[in-house]
Chain length 122, copies 2
């Protein structure tokens, strides 16, 4: 699913984390262009996490490559010529399966962090 | 403190996580050679995390470089010539300060993971 880097299984990769958020956003509403990207980044700020735009684009690209998302161009509202890209879920089953995988990893990571807090601070 | 890689502030780095565990182990008892390394790795296995030996050595090296740990060689028990390295805390204040930093980061990460579980699965 796009993650090529070798892993020792520490914590979830940023890429998978972002793909999860993209899928959930696009499930909820059609995605016009990139306007939600900044909202996404804003929402992580209080947690000290500021994903690079390039990393978010790569996550989006992965999902397109894997056939989970599709993209088409439409005329921008109120504009005669300007086009915007609209993203939607192309394969609902695969989107669901991927989210399930990521959920299992998030659960595992939460347990690993709790273990570290317990082992080192109690 | 040894972490040179640029960060977008996603989750805690493996290096910091391992340094935390090394400090706690060495606080509890003097560290003879590397026998505890494998115990450390074993304890993470149920969580799907198997740190490379090289990564653990680098964490140990960082703590020595930063003057938080010290190392000396002693004769191995029951052996006339064989030496083992013994690690101990060289700077208790700095060890404490570093652990405090890591705790804050673990807390932040736990919150970020919980947010992701809530935002995407509820």
């Amino acid at each position: 699913m796009g993650e090529k880097r070798e892993s020792t299984g520490f914590l979830i990769k940023q890429r998978a984390f972002l793909k999860l958020y993209l899928l959930t956003s696009i499930e909820k509403e059609r995605w016009y262009g990139m306007q939600l990207l900044d909202e996404l980044r804003e929402s992580f700020k209080p947690f000290g996490f500021e994903p690079q735009h390039s990393e978010v684009y790569r996550a989006l690209h992965d999902l397109l490559e894997d056939g989970i998302l599709s993209r088409r161009k439409i005329k921008e509202e109120g504009s005669k010529y300007k086009e915007v890209a609209v993203y939607s879920i192309a394969n609902k089953e695969e989107a669901k399966a991927y989210k399930k995988l990521v959920k299992a990893d998030l659960d595992r990571c939460e347990q690993l962090l709790r273990k570290a807090l317990k082992d080192n601070f109690s």
